[in-house]
């Protein structure tokens, strides 16, 4: 019996392909893309203020709401945070990625790569929570700053209107630290992959031709590793744009995109506005991906 089914299928590769591809394709198309498309449609509906009901007719007025000053500020604030996190992550990631790619012995390399990838897969929420403990007013970081007698510096930082707050745990500075921490592995791995592909002979040639180590770094290594930085920035940027857990647990009253979407669809019940606002990160990411592809970042993924 099995033999006959086997022969039957062997003679019909198209049918086999359909049987293999059917279930995953149907699932992703219907459940995932279907939902995304449905969300896109909702962003063209609007919420009737008085009744609180969603009016299902095509309109652009919900998109117009995004450009109101309050919402525009949310976009600028979030994009600014995402950009800052990306830059700092690149700076922290580079030395570690460089060491792993070019100096670690093969044995160490395996372990270092495992050490970098474990936080990538492990609980994102728990890692945010760890910082809640560290940044708390009486917590370990304040204790350490106090030990170094830098309280004045901290108070001054926290008093700055745009980035400060009542304590580190409730300020944009705190969020910035946590975002940088959470997304760091996403930056290390693509940079390491890119550096891995820089031939050792090229570095030797550079130093043979008389370049100082710093010169070699600037003119040979950095340009060749740049696609890796761009690839990493796709993740750090996109993940910061859409996150609402960090702003909800560590932010102050100033909204970020994810948080705004969360509250519009939740308490406010304004699904059209929430949908329109999610299209923001989606469009930003598509533009970003197109630019990244031109810079050759996809080869480093």
């Amino acid at each position: 019996m099995l033999q006959r089914i086997s022969t039957y299928l062997y003679l019909r590769p198209g049918l086999v392909l359909g049987l293999l591809l059917g279930p995953p394709l149907v699932y992703m198309l219907v459940v995932y893309l279907g939902s995304l498309f449905n969300l896109l449609i909702y962003s063209f509906y609007y919420l009737e203020e008085f009744t609180g009901l969603i009016v299902r007719e095509f309109t652009l007025r919900t998109y117009a709401q995004i450009f109101e000053p309050a919402n525009r500020d949310i976009f600028i604030r979030t994009a600014g945070m995402a950009a800052a996190v990306t830059v700092v992550d690149a700076v922290i990631a580079f030395p570690l990625a460089y060491y792993i790619a070019k100096f670690a012995s093969p044995r160490w390399k395996t372990w270092l790569i495992i050490a970098v990838t474990i936080p990538l897969w492990s609980s994102y929420l728990v890692r945010v929570y760890a910082w809640k403990l560290i940044l708390a007013q009486e917590g370990i970081l304040s204790w350490f700053i106090n030990l170094l007698q830098l309280d004045g510096v901290l108070d001054w930082l926290l008093s700055i209107e745009a980035i400060g707050g009542s304590s580190l745990a409730l300020s944009p500075i705190g969020m910035f630290i946590v975002f940088s921490y959470i997304w760091l592995p996403y930056m290390i791995i693509p940079i390491q992959t890119a550096l891995e592909r820089v031939p050792g002979s090229l570095i030797e040639a550079s130093s043979d031709l008389g370049a100082k180590p710093l010169q070699t770094f600037r003119t040979v290594i950095l340009p060749l590793a740049f696609p890796g930085v761009v690839a990493g920035s796709i993740f750090t940027f996109s993940l910061t744009l859409g996150d609402f857990i960090v702003p909800l647990s560590l932010g102050n009253s100033k909204f970020f995109i994810g948080q705004a979407v969360y509250s519009y669809q939740g308490t406010a019940g304004n699904i059209p506005l929430a949908a329109a606002m999610t299209m923001g990160p989606v469009v930003i990411m598509i533009v970003y991906l197109l630019i990244a592809r031109r810079l050759g970042a996809f080869d480093a993924l």
Binding site: L21, N38, F103, G200, Y262
Partner: protein, 274 residues
């Protein structure tokens, strides 16, 4: 893992070593802080240094039925989502590996979308669809959400393994008279088994601690990450959260570590970027 030029060339400078060590510590020390805080006797604040040492929170956590219910739900969801991902991911990988067809390149793109786009997009899209079709929130709505982003992990691992497997093995098996099913059981499956294991464990870890999509698809149900998240804003027995966080870390660490080891041993690099 390709290892070129690591033995020759100049030695790493102290500055580079220090910066690399700093990055590594920044990645790992914060987690250890949680373990430390499970021992704090301080209920209301996060005072450091700890005012003392106590083990009572483990006992109190044991009696918190709400936490255990959340843990059990998370485990059930993760198991079912992983099974779904294993089946769907393997089917997709097999299809892409063995046939040329129109839109083949688009498959990878489609599968990777749920993790490339911010989680909130997937979450709110599913929530709107669930609400729009009046589907009641249930165990299955959580599983459906998780499966969307777990499939790609299995797919990547299995496809990479297929590509390194020699096609002649399958031909030899068929030539020797095995039918497709026998070939799958005796040749293909043993070859992809560790890739399935690695992909499955990563999918399990992803699902077990996912919070963003889950907030939108869970309705009134509480998975362990959602329980922890609600504790952040409305704490009851605050240090119990530390114990719960530690449990999550330990439950996800083992599969992640093994999956990474498996990948490193078979020199797969496909598990690297999420």
């Amino acid at each position: 893992m390709p290892s070129n030029s690591s033995s020759h060339g100049p030695k790493a400078s102290w500055g580079l070593k220090l910066a690399a060590l700093g990055g590594l510590l920044f990645l790992h020390v914060p987690i250890l802080i949680i373990f430390l805080y499970t021992l704090t006797p301080d209920e209301t604040t996060y005072t450091f240094p700890l005012p003392g040492i106590t083990f009572k929170w483990f006992g109190i956590a044991l009696q918190r039925a709400d936490m255990w219910r959340a843990l059990v739900l998370s485990l059930q969801v993760a198991v079912v989502a992983t099974l779904a991902a294993l089946i769907l991911g393997t089917l997709a990988a097999a299809a892409v590996y063995r046939s040329q067809f129109f839109g083949r390149e688009a498959i990878s793109f489609l599968l990777v979308l749920p993790i490339a786009l911010p989680g909130i997009v997937t979450g709110i899209a599913l929530r709107t669809a669930i609400g729009g079709f009046d589907i009641p929130f249930s165990f299955w709505t959580i599983v459906i959400g998780h499966a969307t982003f777990c499939v790609v992990v299995v797919y990547n691992n299995v496809l990479a393994r297929f590509r390194r497997m020699q096609g002649s093995l399958i031909e030899a098996s068929m030539d020797l008279g095995a039918n497709s099913f026998e070939t799958f059981r005796h040749v293909v499956f043993p070859n992809i088994a560790t890739a399935l294991l690695a992909g499955g464990m990563l999918a399990f870890a992803l699902s077990f601690d996912e919070v963003i999509v889950t907030t939108f698809t869970a309705g009134q149900q509480t998975t362990l990450p959602i329980w922890i998240f609600s504790q952040l804003s409305r704490p009851r027995d605050r240090p119990v959260t530390n114990v719960a966080a530690m449990i999550v870390m330990l439950i996800t660490f083992v599969p992640i570590f093994y999956a990474q080891r498996l990948s490193a041993q078979s020199s797969d690099t496909e598990g690297e970027t999420k």
